[in-house]
Symmetry: C2
Subunit: 296 residues, 2 copies
Protein backbone atom coordinates (compact mmCIF):
# COMPACT_ATOMS: atom_id res chain seq x y z
CA UNK A 1 0.00 0.00 0.00
CA UNK A 2 1.24 3.48 -0.86
CA UNK A 3 2.33 5.38 2.22
CA UNK A 4 0.55 8.71 2.52
CA UNK A 5 2.45 11.97 2.20
CA UNK A 6 1.63 12.68 5.85
CA UNK A 7 3.24 9.40 6.90
CA UNK A 8 6.31 10.08 4.78
CA UNK A 9 6.60 13.61 6.14
CA UNK A 10 6.31 12.31 9.69
CA UNK A 11 9.16 9.86 9.09
CA UNK A 12 11.29 12.55 7.46
CA UNK A 13 10.79 14.94 10.38
CA UNK A 14 11.72 12.19 12.86
CA UNK A 15 14.79 11.04 10.97
CA UNK A 16 16.08 14.18 9.22
CA UNK A 17 14.37 17.07 10.96
CA UNK A 18 11.96 19.74 9.87
CA UNK A 19 14.29 22.11 8.02
CA UNK A 20 13.52 22.66 4.33
CA UNK A 21 15.79 24.61 2.02
CA UNK A 22 14.35 26.68 -0.79
CA UNK A 23 15.82 26.19 -4.25
CA UNK A 24 15.51 29.87 -5.12
CA UNK A 25 17.93 30.79 -7.91
CA UNK A 26 17.74 34.58 -7.58
CA UNK A 27 19.91 36.42 -10.08
CA UNK A 28 22.11 37.83 -7.32
CA UNK A 29 22.70 34.33 -5.91
CA UNK A 30 23.62 32.93 -9.33
CA UNK A 31 26.14 35.77 -9.64
CA UNK A 32 27.54 35.09 -6.17
CA UNK A 33 27.79 31.36 -6.89
CA UNK A 34 29.65 32.05 -10.16
CA UNK A 35 26.83 30.62 -12.26
CA UNK A 36 25.32 32.14 -15.41
CA UNK A 37 21.81 33.62 -15.39
CA UNK A 38 20.61 30.92 -17.79
CA UNK A 39 18.61 27.71 -17.59
CA UNK A 40 21.93 25.84 -17.32
CA UNK A 41 22.88 28.06 -14.39
CA UNK A 42 19.57 27.31 -12.67
CA UNK A 43 20.06 23.59 -13.20
CA UNK A 44 23.56 23.66 -11.71
CA UNK A 45 22.36 25.81 -8.80
CA UNK A 46 19.53 23.40 -8.09
CA UNK A 47 21.74 20.31 -8.25
CA UNK A 48 24.24 21.87 -5.82
CA UNK A 49 21.47 22.68 -3.35
CA UNK A 50 20.21 19.10 -3.67
CA UNK A 51 23.73 17.79 -2.93
CA UNK A 52 24.10 19.95 0.17
CA UNK A 53 20.58 19.18 1.37
CA UNK A 54 20.81 15.42 0.91
CA UNK A 55 23.88 15.36 3.16
CA UNK A 56 22.23 17.24 5.99
CA UNK A 57 18.43 17.66 5.93
CA UNK A 58 15.30 16.03 4.50
CA UNK A 59 13.20 18.50 2.52
CA UNK A 60 13.73 20.87 -0.43
CA UNK A 61 11.37 23.41 -1.97
CA UNK A 62 12.13 24.63 -5.49
CA UNK A 63 10.55 28.02 -6.24
CA UNK A 64 8.98 27.40 -9.66
CA UNK A 65 8.74 31.10 -10.64
CA UNK A 66 12.50 31.42 -11.06
CA UNK A 67 12.53 28.47 -13.47
CA UNK A 68 9.45 29.69 -15.36
CA UNK A 69 11.33 32.86 -16.40
CA UNK A 70 13.34 30.66 -18.78
CA UNK A 71 10.31 28.97 -20.32
CA UNK A 72 10.64 25.40 -21.55
CA UNK A 73 14.41 25.44 -20.94
CA UNK A 74 13.81 26.50 -17.36
CA UNK A 75 11.28 23.71 -16.89
CA UNK A 76 13.75 21.20 -18.36
CA UNK A 77 16.26 22.35 -15.72
CA UNK A 78 13.59 22.04 -13.04
CA UNK A 79 12.77 18.49 -14.17
CA UNK A 80 16.41 17.53 -13.64
CA UNK A 81 16.48 19.17 -10.21
CA UNK A 82 13.21 17.50 -9.13
CA UNK A 83 14.43 14.10 -10.30
CA UNK A 84 17.80 14.48 -8.56
CA UNK A 85 16.14 15.53 -5.31
CA UNK A 86 13.68 12.64 -5.30
CA UNK A 87 16.46 10.23 -6.30
CA UNK A 88 18.45 11.46 -3.29
CA UNK A 89 15.52 10.57 -1.02
CA UNK A 90 14.58 14.16 -0.26
CA UNK A 91 10.93 15.17 0.11
CA UNK A 92 10.27 17.70 -2.64
CA UNK A 93 7.71 20.49 -2.30
CA UNK A 94 7.17 22.29 -5.61
CA UNK A 95 6.52 25.89 -4.59
CA UNK A 96 4.20 26.75 -7.47
CA UNK A 97 1.24 28.48 -5.72
CA UNK A 98 -1.07 27.05 -8.39
CA UNK A 99 -4.81 27.46 -8.32
CA UNK A 100 -7.74 27.51 -10.75
CA UNK A 101 -11.14 25.87 -11.07
CA UNK A 102 -12.59 22.73 -12.66
CA UNK A 103 -10.53 20.80 -15.15
CA UNK A 104 -7.77 23.42 -15.14
CA UNK A 105 -6.86 23.01 -11.49
CA UNK A 106 -7.10 19.23 -11.93
CA UNK A 107 -4.50 19.59 -14.70
CA UNK A 108 -2.17 21.36 -12.26
CA UNK A 109 -2.61 18.42 -9.90
CA UNK A 110 -1.74 16.04 -12.72
CA UNK A 111 1.32 18.08 -13.60
CA UNK A 112 2.92 18.08 -10.14
CA UNK A 113 1.56 15.02 -8.35
CA UNK A 114 1.05 12.20 -10.84
CA UNK A 115 3.72 9.49 -10.57
CA UNK A 116 5.80 9.54 -13.73
CA UNK A 117 4.89 13.11 -14.67
CA UNK A 118 7.89 15.12 -15.92
CA UNK A 119 7.38 17.60 -13.06
CA UNK A 120 6.59 15.00 -10.38
CA UNK A 121 7.12 16.30 -6.84
CA UNK A 122 6.00 14.96 -3.46
CA UNK A 123 3.81 17.97 -2.74
CA UNK A 124 2.83 21.27 -4.35
CA UNK A 125 1.81 24.64 -2.92
CA UNK A 126 -1.66 25.89 -3.92
CA UNK A 127 -3.74 29.07 -3.59
CA UNK A 128 -7.46 28.94 -2.78
CA UNK A 129 -8.72 32.34 -3.96
CA UNK A 130 -11.59 30.41 -5.59
CA UNK A 131 -12.25 28.49 -2.35
CA UNK A 132 -10.65 25.34 -0.94
CA UNK A 133 -13.53 23.44 -2.57
CA UNK A 134 -12.05 24.35 -5.96
CA UNK A 135 -8.93 22.35 -5.00
CA UNK A 136 -10.78 19.15 -4.05
CA UNK A 137 -9.80 17.30 -7.21
CA UNK A 138 -6.12 17.94 -6.47
CA UNK A 139 -6.50 16.77 -2.87
CA UNK A 140 -8.14 13.54 -4.06
CA UNK A 141 -5.39 12.98 -6.63
CA UNK A 142 -2.76 13.58 -3.94
CA UNK A 143 -4.45 11.09 -1.63
CA UNK A 144 -4.55 8.40 -4.33
CA UNK A 145 -0.85 8.73 -5.10
CA UNK A 146 0.62 9.29 -1.63
CA UNK A 147 1.25 12.95 -2.45
CA UNK A 148 0.58 16.17 -0.56
CA UNK A 149 -0.30 19.84 -0.93
CA UNK A 150 0.09 23.03 1.09
CA UNK A 151 -2.58 25.69 0.67
CA UNK A 152 -1.85 29.36 1.38
CA UNK A 153 -3.67 30.45 4.55
CA UNK A 154 -1.70 33.35 6.15
CA UNK A 155 1.16 34.47 3.92
CA UNK A 156 4.24 36.22 5.28
CA UNK A 157 3.92 39.49 3.31
CA UNK A 158 2.45 42.73 4.71
CA UNK A 159 0.06 43.28 1.76
CA UNK A 160 -1.95 40.17 2.70
CA UNK A 161 -3.76 41.70 5.67
CA UNK A 162 -7.09 42.85 4.19
CA UNK A 163 -7.84 39.74 2.13
CA UNK A 164 -6.74 37.17 4.68
CA UNK A 165 -8.41 38.82 7.70
CA UNK A 166 -11.73 39.44 5.91
CA UNK A 167 -14.66 37.91 7.83
CA UNK A 168 -16.49 35.05 6.19
CA UNK A 169 -20.31 34.99 6.25
CA UNK A 170 -21.52 33.10 9.32
CA UNK A 171 -21.42 29.34 8.93
CA UNK A 172 -21.99 26.47 11.32
CA UNK A 173 -18.28 26.81 12.10
CA UNK A 174 -18.77 30.22 13.72
CA UNK A 175 -17.03 33.48 12.94
CA UNK A 176 -14.02 32.94 10.67
CA UNK A 177 -11.51 34.98 8.73
CA UNK A 178 -10.50 33.93 5.23
CA UNK A 179 -7.21 32.55 6.60
CA UNK A 180 -9.09 30.78 9.40
CA UNK A 181 -11.61 29.34 6.92
CA UNK A 182 -8.86 27.91 4.72
CA UNK A 183 -7.04 26.38 7.70
CA UNK A 184 -10.28 24.98 9.17
CA UNK A 185 -11.42 23.47 5.88
CA UNK A 186 -8.03 21.83 5.28
CA UNK A 187 -7.99 20.48 8.83
CA UNK A 188 -11.48 19.03 8.28
CA UNK A 189 -10.35 17.49 4.99
CA UNK A 190 -7.54 15.66 6.77
CA UNK A 191 -9.89 14.31 9.42
CA UNK A 192 -12.30 13.02 6.78
CA UNK A 193 -9.46 11.31 4.93
CA UNK A 194 -7.57 9.36 7.57
CA UNK A 195 -5.85 6.48 5.78
CA UNK A 196 -7.66 3.21 6.46
CA UNK A 197 -5.33 0.86 8.29
CA UNK A 198 -3.13 3.69 9.54
CA UNK A 199 -1.55 2.14 12.61
CA UNK A 200 0.54 5.08 13.79
CA UNK A 201 -1.51 4.97 16.97
CA UNK A 202 1.24 6.12 19.30
CA UNK A 203 2.44 9.01 17.17
CA UNK A 204 0.90 12.29 16.13
CA UNK A 205 0.32 11.09 12.57
CA UNK A 206 0.22 13.91 10.07
CA UNK A 207 -2.40 14.63 7.43
CA UNK A 208 -1.38 14.92 3.80
CA UNK A 209 -2.84 18.35 3.04
CA UNK A 210 -1.28 21.23 4.92
CA UNK A 211 -1.39 25.00 5.04
CA UNK A 212 1.13 27.79 4.62
CA UNK A 213 1.29 29.96 7.75
CA UNK A 214 3.91 32.71 7.66
CA UNK A 215 6.10 32.93 10.73
CA UNK A 216 6.15 36.72 10.54
CA UNK A 217 2.52 37.01 11.52
CA UNK A 218 0.58 37.08 14.76
CA UNK A 219 -1.58 34.17 13.65
CA UNK A 220 -4.40 35.01 16.06
CA UNK A 221 -4.66 38.45 14.41
CA UNK A 222 -5.25 36.52 11.17
CA UNK A 223 -7.96 34.44 12.83
CA UNK A 224 -5.84 31.28 12.90
CA UNK A 225 -6.07 29.55 16.29
CA UNK A 226 -3.28 26.96 16.33
CA UNK A 227 -4.66 25.38 19.51
CA UNK A 228 -8.13 24.57 18.21
CA UNK A 229 -6.65 23.42 14.88
CA UNK A 230 -4.44 20.91 16.72
CA UNK A 231 -7.30 19.16 18.55
CA UNK A 232 -7.85 15.61 17.33
CA UNK A 233 -5.92 13.66 14.72
CA UNK A 234 -4.31 13.62 12.29
CA UNK A 235 -2.38 16.81 12.82
CA UNK A 236 -2.53 19.19 9.83
CA UNK A 237 1.01 19.86 8.56
CA UNK A 238 2.25 23.42 8.18
CA UNK A 239 4.73 24.93 5.76
CA UNK A 240 6.34 27.92 7.50
CA UNK A 241 8.09 30.63 5.51
CA UNK A 242 9.32 33.84 7.09
CA UNK A 243 12.38 32.69 9.03
CA UNK A 244 15.82 34.20 8.45
CA UNK A 245 15.82 36.98 5.88
CA UNK A 246 12.15 37.84 6.58
CA UNK A 247 12.82 38.15 10.29
CA UNK A 248 11.32 35.28 12.31
CA UNK A 249 13.59 33.33 14.68
CA UNK A 250 13.87 29.54 14.99
CA UNK A 251 13.61 29.91 18.76
CA UNK A 252 10.08 31.24 18.33
CA UNK A 253 8.84 28.13 16.50
CA UNK A 254 6.96 26.83 19.54
CA UNK A 255 5.45 30.16 20.49
CA UNK A 256 4.27 30.87 16.92
CA UNK A 257 2.86 27.44 16.00
CA UNK A 258 2.05 25.97 19.43
CA UNK A 259 0.86 22.37 19.11
CA UNK A 260 1.03 22.58 15.30
CA UNK A 261 4.82 22.97 15.57
CA UNK A 262 5.21 19.16 15.70
CA UNK A 263 4.08 18.99 12.07
CA UNK A 264 5.65 22.23 10.90
CA UNK A 265 8.21 22.40 8.10
CA UNK A 266 10.55 25.35 8.58
CA UNK A 267 11.64 26.90 5.32
CA UNK A 268 15.03 28.57 4.98
CA UNK A 269 16.22 30.19 1.81
CA UNK A 270 18.24 33.37 1.41
CA UNK A 271 19.89 33.11 4.85
CA UNK A 272 21.29 29.67 3.93
CA UNK A 273 21.84 30.10 0.18
CA UNK A 274 23.85 33.30 0.73
CA UNK A 275 26.53 31.14 2.39
CA UNK A 276 27.55 30.04 -1.10
CA UNK A 277 27.81 26.53 -2.50
CA UNK A 278 30.87 25.36 -0.56
CA UNK A 279 29.52 26.44 2.84
CA UNK A 280 25.88 25.52 2.20
CA UNK A 281 25.94 22.02 3.72
CA UNK A 282 27.58 23.30 6.91
CA UNK A 283 25.13 26.19 7.11
CA UNK A 284 22.16 23.85 6.71
CA UNK A 285 23.55 21.50 9.36
CA UNK A 286 24.03 24.46 11.68
CA UNK A 287 20.48 25.76 11.09
CA UNK A 288 19.04 22.26 11.53
CA UNK A 289 20.88 22.02 14.84
CA UNK A 290 19.49 25.35 16.05
CA UNK A 291 16.04 24.24 15.00
CA UNK A 292 16.13 20.86 16.74
CA UNK A 293 17.02 22.72 19.93
CA UNK A 294 14.11 25.11 19.48
CA UNK A 295 11.41 22.56 20.31
CA UNK A 296 13.28 20.62 23.01
CA UNK B 1 6.24 55.38 -27.40
CA UNK B 2 4.93 51.94 -26.51
CA UNK B 3 1.16 51.75 -26.70
CA UNK B 4 -0.37 50.55 -23.47
CA UNK B 5 -2.16 47.21 -23.26
CA UNK B 6 -5.38 49.11 -22.57
CA UNK B 7 -4.98 51.10 -25.78
CA UNK B 8 -4.21 47.95 -27.77
CA UNK B 9 -7.18 46.14 -26.25
CA UNK B 10 -9.44 49.08 -27.08
CA UNK B 11 -8.34 48.99 -30.71
CA UNK B 12 -8.79 45.23 -30.88
CA UNK B 13 -12.32 45.43 -29.49
CA UNK B 14 -13.23 48.17 -31.99
CA UNK B 15 -11.73 46.39 -34.99
CA UNK B 16 -12.12 42.67 -34.20
CA UNK B 17 -14.67 42.51 -31.39
CA UNK B 18 -14.55 41.32 -27.82
CA UNK B 19 -14.71 37.56 -28.30
CA UNK B 20 -11.74 35.57 -26.98
CA UNK B 21 -11.30 31.87 -27.58
CA UNK B 22 -9.67 29.68 -24.97
CA UNK B 23 -6.87 27.39 -26.12
CA UNK B 24 -7.90 24.59 -23.78
CA UNK B 25 -6.58 21.25 -25.03
CA UNK B 26 -8.72 18.97 -22.88
CA UNK B 27 -8.04 15.29 -23.45
CA UNK B 28 -11.55 14.72 -24.81
CA UNK B 29 -11.08 17.55 -27.32
CA UNK B 30 -7.73 16.18 -28.50
CA UNK B 31 -9.46 12.83 -29.06
CA UNK B 32 -12.32 14.47 -30.94
CA UNK B 33 -9.91 16.47 -33.08
CA UNK B 34 -7.92 13.31 -33.94
CA UNK B 35 -4.82 14.56 -32.12
CA UNK B 36 -2.62 12.59 -29.72
CA UNK B 37 -2.61 13.36 -25.99
CA UNK B 38 1.01 14.50 -26.18
CA UNK B 39 2.91 17.78 -26.27
CA UNK B 40 2.90 17.51 -30.08
CA UNK B 41 -0.89 17.12 -29.99
CA UNK B 42 -1.21 20.21 -27.80
CA UNK B 43 1.00 22.22 -30.16
CA UNK B 44 -1.06 21.21 -33.20
CA UNK B 45 -4.31 21.92 -31.35
CA UNK B 46 -3.06 25.37 -30.34
CA UNK B 47 -1.86 26.24 -33.84
CA UNK B 48 -5.23 25.25 -35.33
CA UNK B 49 -7.09 27.43 -32.85
CA UNK B 50 -4.74 30.31 -33.68
CA UNK B 51 -5.48 29.84 -37.40
CA UNK B 52 -9.23 29.85 -36.88
CA UNK B 53 -9.07 32.80 -34.46
CA UNK B 54 -6.85 34.97 -36.63
CA UNK B 55 -9.36 34.69 -39.47
CA UNK B 56 -12.32 35.77 -37.37
CA UNK B 57 -11.64 37.35 -33.95
CA UNK B 58 -8.95 39.26 -32.07
CA UNK B 59 -8.06 37.57 -28.77
CA UNK B 60 -6.91 34.11 -27.64
CA UNK B 61 -6.39 32.75 -24.14
CA UNK B 62 -4.21 29.63 -23.75
CA UNK B 63 -4.95 27.73 -20.52
CA UNK B 64 -1.44 27.10 -19.19
CA UNK B 65 -2.41 24.20 -16.91
CA UNK B 66 -3.07 21.87 -19.83
CA UNK B 67 0.43 22.53 -21.19
CA UNK B 68 2.08 22.24 -17.76
CA UNK B 69 0.93 18.60 -17.52
CA UNK B 70 3.58 17.78 -20.14
CA UNK B 71 6.39 19.64 -18.35
CA UNK B 72 9.14 21.22 -20.43
CA UNK B 73 7.78 19.61 -23.62
CA UNK B 74 4.38 21.14 -22.93
CA UNK B 75 5.95 24.55 -22.36
CA UNK B 76 7.90 24.22 -25.62
CA UNK B 77 4.57 23.60 -27.36
CA UNK B 78 3.07 26.59 -25.59
CA UNK B 79 5.97 28.79 -26.70
CA UNK B 80 5.22 27.90 -30.32
CA UNK B 81 1.52 28.61 -29.85
CA UNK B 82 2.17 31.96 -28.13
CA UNK B 83 4.60 33.02 -30.86
CA UNK B 84 2.21 32.01 -33.65
CA UNK B 85 -0.67 33.89 -32.03
CA UNK B 86 1.32 37.09 -31.53
CA UNK B 87 2.75 36.78 -35.06
CA UNK B 88 -0.83 36.57 -36.35
CA UNK B 89 -1.64 39.86 -34.63
CA UNK B 90 -3.87 38.32 -31.97
CA UNK B 91 -3.89 39.67 -28.42
CA UNK B 92 -2.71 36.80 -26.23
CA UNK B 93 -3.83 36.38 -22.62
CA UNK B 94 -1.85 33.64 -20.85
CA UNK B 95 -4.38 32.08 -18.48
CA UNK B 96 -1.89 31.12 -15.77
CA UNK B 97 -3.56 32.38 -12.55
CA UNK B 98 -0.10 33.08 -11.12
CA UNK B 99 0.46 34.70 -7.77
CA UNK B 100 3.11 34.84 -5.06
CA UNK B 101 4.95 37.49 -3.05
CA UNK B 102 8.14 39.49 -3.37
CA UNK B 103 10.78 38.40 -5.87
CA UNK B 104 8.83 35.25 -6.77
CA UNK B 105 5.79 37.05 -8.13
CA UNK B 106 8.10 39.48 -9.92
CA UNK B 107 9.67 36.44 -11.61
CA UNK B 108 6.23 35.39 -12.86
CA UNK B 109 5.83 38.87 -14.31
CA UNK B 110 9.19 38.52 -16.04
CA UNK B 111 8.22 35.11 -17.41
CA UNK B 112 4.99 36.20 -19.10
CA UNK B 113 5.32 39.92 -19.79
CA UNK B 114 8.94 40.73 -20.63
CA UNK B 115 9.48 41.37 -24.35
CA UNK B 116 11.65 38.58 -25.75
CA UNK B 117 10.84 36.13 -22.95
CA UNK B 118 10.21 32.59 -24.25
CA UNK B 119 6.68 32.70 -22.78
CA UNK B 120 5.92 36.30 -23.80
CA UNK B 121 2.20 37.07 -23.90
CA UNK B 122 0.27 40.36 -24.03
CA UNK B 123 -1.35 39.82 -20.65
CA UNK B 124 -1.44 37.21 -17.90
CA UNK B 125 -4.10 36.21 -15.37
CA UNK B 126 -3.13 36.57 -11.70
CA UNK B 127 -4.54 35.64 -8.28
CA UNK B 128 -4.33 38.02 -5.33
CA UNK B 129 -4.77 35.73 -2.31
CA UNK B 130 -1.81 37.60 -0.79
CA UNK B 131 -3.40 40.98 -1.60
CA UNK B 132 -3.36 43.06 -4.77
CA UNK B 133 -0.40 44.91 -3.24
CA UNK B 134 1.64 41.72 -3.64
CA UNK B 135 1.16 42.03 -7.42
CA UNK B 136 2.38 45.64 -7.69
CA UNK B 137 5.73 44.68 -9.19
CA UNK B 138 3.97 42.80 -11.99
CA UNK B 139 1.64 45.73 -12.68
CA UNK B 140 4.62 48.09 -12.93
CA UNK B 141 6.44 45.70 -15.27
CA UNK B 142 3.30 45.42 -17.41
CA UNK B 143 2.98 49.21 -17.58
CA UNK B 144 6.63 49.62 -18.67
CA UNK B 145 6.29 47.13 -21.51
CA UNK B 146 2.78 47.89 -22.79
CA UNK B 147 1.50 44.65 -21.27
CA UNK B 148 -1.56 43.83 -19.16
CA UNK B 149 -2.88 41.59 -16.40
CA UNK B 150 -6.26 40.31 -15.23
CA UNK B 151 -6.66 39.65 -11.51
CA UNK B 152 -9.26 37.17 -10.21
CA UNK B 153 -12.05 39.05 -8.43
CA UNK B 154 -15.27 36.98 -8.69
CA UNK B 155 -14.62 33.57 -10.25
CA UNK B 156 -17.30 31.58 -12.02
CA UNK B 157 -17.23 28.46 -9.79
CA UNK B 158 -19.71 27.76 -6.97
CA UNK B 159 -16.99 27.01 -4.37
CA UNK B 160 -15.76 30.61 -4.44
CA UNK B 161 -18.60 32.10 -2.42
CA UNK B 162 -17.23 32.19 1.14
CA UNK B 163 -13.76 33.56 0.30
CA UNK B 164 -14.86 36.12 -2.27
CA UNK B 165 -17.84 37.47 -0.31
CA UNK B 166 -15.93 37.74 2.99
CA UNK B 167 -16.13 41.28 4.44
CA UNK B 168 -12.92 43.26 4.59
CA UNK B 169 -12.11 45.23 7.76
CA UNK B 170 -13.46 48.78 7.45
CA UNK B 171 -11.26 51.07 5.37
CA UNK B 172 -11.70 54.59 4.04
CA UNK B 173 -13.33 52.90 1.04
CA UNK B 174 -16.29 51.73 3.11
CA UNK B 175 -17.66 48.22 3.49
CA UNK B 176 -16.14 45.86 0.93
CA UNK B 177 -16.10 42.17 0.12
CA UNK B 178 -12.86 40.49 -0.91
CA UNK B 179 -14.04 40.51 -4.55
CA UNK B 180 -15.08 44.16 -4.22
CA UNK B 181 -11.72 45.07 -2.64
CA UNK B 182 -9.78 43.47 -5.47
CA UNK B 183 -11.90 45.20 -8.12
CA UNK B 184 -11.71 48.56 -6.33
CA UNK B 185 -7.94 48.39 -5.85
CA UNK B 186 -7.37 47.47 -9.50
CA UNK B 187 -9.68 50.28 -10.62
CA UNK B 188 -7.72 52.70 -8.44
CA UNK B 189 -4.43 51.42 -9.88
CA UNK B 190 -5.64 52.20 -13.41
CA UNK B 191 -6.67 55.73 -12.42
CA UNK B 192 -3.27 56.38 -10.85
CA UNK B 193 -1.50 55.11 -13.96
CA UNK B 194 -3.16 56.93 -16.85
CA UNK B 195 -0.63 57.06 -19.66
CA UNK B 196 0.75 60.58 -20.00
CA UNK B 197 -0.12 61.96 -23.42
CA UNK B 198 -3.05 59.61 -23.87
CA UNK B 199 -5.24 61.52 -26.32
CA UNK B 200 -8.11 59.06 -26.62
CA UNK B 201 -10.30 61.84 -25.29
CA UNK B 202 -13.41 60.90 -27.23
CA UNK B 203 -13.28 57.19 -26.46
CA UNK B 204 -13.66 55.20 -23.26
CA UNK B 205 -9.94 54.46 -23.00
CA UNK B 206 -9.22 51.25 -21.15
CA UNK B 207 -6.81 50.68 -18.31
CA UNK B 208 -4.13 48.01 -18.64
CA UNK B 209 -4.90 46.02 -15.49
CA UNK B 210 -8.26 44.29 -15.43
CA UNK B 211 -10.23 41.86 -13.33
CA UNK B 212 -11.84 38.48 -13.89
CA UNK B 213 -15.58 38.62 -13.18
CA UNK B 214 -17.44 35.40 -13.87
CA UNK B 215 -20.62 35.81 -15.92
CA UNK B 216 -22.38 33.11 -13.90
CA UNK B 217 -22.54 35.28 -10.80
CA UNK B 218 -24.85 37.93 -9.49
CA UNK B 219 -21.99 40.39 -9.13
CA UNK B 220 -23.82 42.53 -6.56
CA UNK B 221 -24.10 39.46 -4.33
CA UNK B 222 -20.30 39.31 -4.54
CA UNK B 223 -20.02 42.96 -3.55
CA UNK B 224 -18.97 44.07 -7.04
CA UNK B 225 -20.89 47.19 -8.13
CA UNK B 226 -20.24 47.56 -11.85
CA UNK B 227 -21.80 51.04 -11.89
CA UNK B 228 -19.55 52.63 -9.29
CA UNK B 229 -16.50 50.87 -10.80
CA UNK B 230 -17.27 52.45 -14.18
CA UNK B 231 -17.29 56.06 -12.93
CA UNK B 232 -14.39 58.09 -14.26
CA UNK B 233 -11.63 57.01 -16.64
CA UNK B 234 -9.93 54.92 -17.77
CA UNK B 235 -12.40 52.09 -17.71
CA UNK B 236 -11.07 48.95 -16.00
CA UNK B 237 -11.12 46.03 -18.46
CA UNK B 238 -12.86 42.80 -17.54
CA UNK B 239 -12.14 39.23 -18.56
CA UNK B 240 -15.44 37.34 -18.46
CA UNK B 241 -15.54 33.54 -18.28
CA UNK B 242 -18.74 31.61 -17.75
CA UNK B 243 -20.47 31.91 -21.12
CA UNK B 244 -21.49 28.87 -23.13
CA UNK B 245 -20.74 25.58 -21.37
CA UNK B 246 -20.94 27.23 -17.91
CA UNK B 247 -24.35 28.67 -18.68
CA UNK B 248 -24.26 32.47 -19.17
CA UNK B 249 -25.76 33.91 -22.37
CA UNK B 250 -24.18 36.50 -24.68
CA UNK B 251 -27.46 38.41 -24.66
CA UNK B 252 -26.99 39.05 -20.94
CA UNK B 253 -23.62 40.79 -21.38
CA UNK B 254 -25.09 44.26 -20.82
CA UNK B 255 -27.24 43.27 -17.87
CA UNK B 256 -24.36 41.46 -16.12
CA UNK B 257 -21.55 43.99 -16.69
CA UNK B 258 -23.49 47.24 -17.16
CA UNK B 259 -21.17 50.10 -18.09
CA UNK B 260 -18.13 47.82 -17.72
CA UNK B 261 -19.38 45.80 -20.71
CA UNK B 262 -17.66 48.26 -23.09
CA UNK B 263 -14.28 46.97 -21.86
CA UNK B 264 -15.29 43.35 -21.32
CA UNK B 265 -13.59 40.45 -23.08
CA UNK B 266 -15.99 37.54 -23.48
CA UNK B 267 -14.30 34.18 -23.23
CA UNK B 268 -15.58 31.17 -25.13
CA UNK B 269 -14.03 27.76 -24.93
CA UNK B 270 -15.74 24.39 -24.89
CA UNK B 271 -18.85 25.60 -26.75
CA UNK B 272 -16.65 26.72 -29.67
CA UNK B 273 -13.86 24.13 -29.52
CA UNK B 274 -16.36 21.26 -29.55
CA UNK B 275 -17.25 22.28 -33.11
CA UNK B 276 -14.01 20.61 -34.20
CA UNK B 277 -11.13 22.10 -36.16
CA UNK B 278 -12.83 22.41 -39.54
CA UNK B 279 -15.91 24.19 -38.19
CA UNK B 280 -14.12 26.29 -35.57
CA UNK B 281 -13.64 29.45 -37.65
CA UNK B 282 -17.31 29.49 -38.68
CA UNK B 283 -18.39 28.86 -35.09
CA UNK B 284 -16.22 31.72 -33.82
CA UNK B 285 -17.56 34.04 -36.52
CA UNK B 286 -21.09 33.05 -35.55
CA UNK B 287 -20.48 33.63 -31.83
CA UNK B 288 -18.76 36.96 -32.55
CA UNK B 289 -21.83 38.00 -34.56
CA UNK B 290 -24.20 37.08 -31.73
CA UNK B 291 -22.01 39.01 -29.34
CA UNK B 292 -21.78 42.18 -31.40
CA UNK B 293 -25.56 42.20 -31.49
CA UNK B 294 -25.78 41.79 -27.72
CA UNK B 295 -24.58 45.34 -26.93
CA UNK B 296 -26.26 47.13 -29.81
Amino acid sequence: MTRSFGQRLHTTIEQRGRLCVGIDPHGFLLDAWGLPRTAAGLREFGLRVVDAASATIGIVKPQVAFFEVFGSAGFAALEDVLAAARQAGLLVIADAKRGDIGSSVDAYGDAWLTPGSPLEADAVTLAAYAGTGSLGGVFDLAQRHGKGAFVLAATSNPESLLVQTARVAATERGDLTVAGLVATEIDEWNRRHVIAGDDDVDTPALGSIGVVLGATKNLLDYGVDVHSLAEGAPLMPVLAPGFGHQGALFDDLGSIYGPLAAGTIVSTSRSALSAGPSALADTLADQAGQLSGALS
